[in-house]
Symmetry: C2
Subunit: 212 residues, 2 copies
DNA sequence: TTATTTCCTGACCATTTGGTCAAGTTAACG
DNA sequence: CGTTAACTTGACCAAATGGTCAGGAAATAA
């Protein structure tokens, strides 16, 4: 019988190994070529496995994609969870921003996969977005809203602020190619992300107005 | 003989009309499904034209795509051109940001098309990015750099600032679906983009630190 | 009007690709 | 060791899709 990945049916050793191999290979391919642009053969090849064998673990291409997406999404949202209502507001936001930027640097593939899905209307994860994601964001937006009310932050809309942080940091993963084209090899320099972080942080905290 | 779109061969009346119809239809389809995800049939249907007829004007799918991309890219970069070295720095940047946000609102399709291309490695427009785009950005980054030197702006890296502006504003087009999922119907509210603009501007100018 | 060029279409083709299946191989377990 | 269940594969299929082509319809020019 087929193992039906994702079920709780007592996974075999080989099953665990192979599913892991497939999902890992699929992440990179999907992120690069998108869902339609990816062929099962490509994934199979990268996972060092025959196509029928791959399809033994995941019955449909869509199943692999969803599996990869869910795993990525989970990882992707972790930093926001860490935003601490009891911490210092400016510091918390700085930390969160730095963490997101760090993720864009270390795992741009995940960011691109996610961006691609959203860009195409998020057909596979609409429910997650409207469910757990919305819930988490609502919660953290409330925290930020309180900080604003208490006068610990400038008067800004919490949701738009969160969007701004996402946009700014993920841009370094999603639009890497463009940055590379504009800046030349600088992008690979070790201090590139450091400089990005400094600039982002400066603007988020102090804004562009010069202080004398 | 085939008309070979893009050539300077004395375009007929019908040719002009149909090429326009095709490119316009293609923009929306490509932006929604990506290059690989789009079928010629889809474009033909949207352009109210048979597939062979469409292929009479554009020999290959790629030709349509490139045509759409180039046209979009050009429009997309116009606002940056308007950044005036002799204007007031903060005002110029505010204006530019507002303009980009406005474009994201009015023409999200173009933004998504572009984002999609970059995300997939920009295989078709690498030369443009490294050419005219780089040139333009270099020029404007120098302008901003001067403002910083003159003490009219806070100490920030001009390139990263430009990236931040792009990221923040385009996010409203590219990640619209996600925002919609999180905020509910609010996204369609008339004051939604106004609120976005206010927040973005406030942060870019003043930062998050509360001022008493 | 007539000749010529441009435009348009149905039918067709080759390739790609998601997915199946019967049969063989390997691992696990008693 | 033997039996059973899990795993693997080559061969195959149907549908989708990019693209061609010969010939007909419509403009346009003479």
């Amino acid at each position: 019988m087929s193992p039906r990945a994702g079920q709780t049916k007592k996974r075999t050793r080989i099953q665990a190994i192979n599913e892991e191999k497939i999902v890992e290979a699929a992440l990179e391919i999907f992120a690069t070529f998108g869902f339609r642009g990816t062929t099962i053969d490509q994934i199979a090849q990268k996972a060092e496995m025959s196509k029928p064998n791959l399809l033994y673990y995941f019955r449909r291409k869509e199943d692999i994609y969803i599996s990869v997406l869910r795993r990525t999404l989970e990882e992707w949202l972790t930093p926001l969870t860490a935003l601490n209502p009891k911490g210092d507001p400016l510091e918390e936001i700085s930390k969160y921003t730095a963490l997101k930027l760090e993720m864009s640097r270390k795992n741009p593939t995940a960011s691109r996969l996610f961006a691609n899905e959203i860009l195409h209307g998020a057909p596979m994860i609409e429910d997650v977005l409207k469910g757990s994601l919305k819930q988490l964001v609502d919660e953290k937006a409330a925290v930020i809203g309180n900080w604003v009310k208490e006068g610990k932050l400038a008067q800004v809309d919490p949701y738009h602020l969160i969007f701004m942080i996402w946009a700014t940091t993920q841009h370094y993963a999603d639009f890497k190619v463009q940055m590379h084209a504009i800046l030349g090899k600088t992008v690979d320099a070790p201090d590139y992300y450091e400089q990005a972080g400094t600039t982002i942080n400066a603007i988020f905290l102090e804004g562009l107005k010069p202080r004398s």
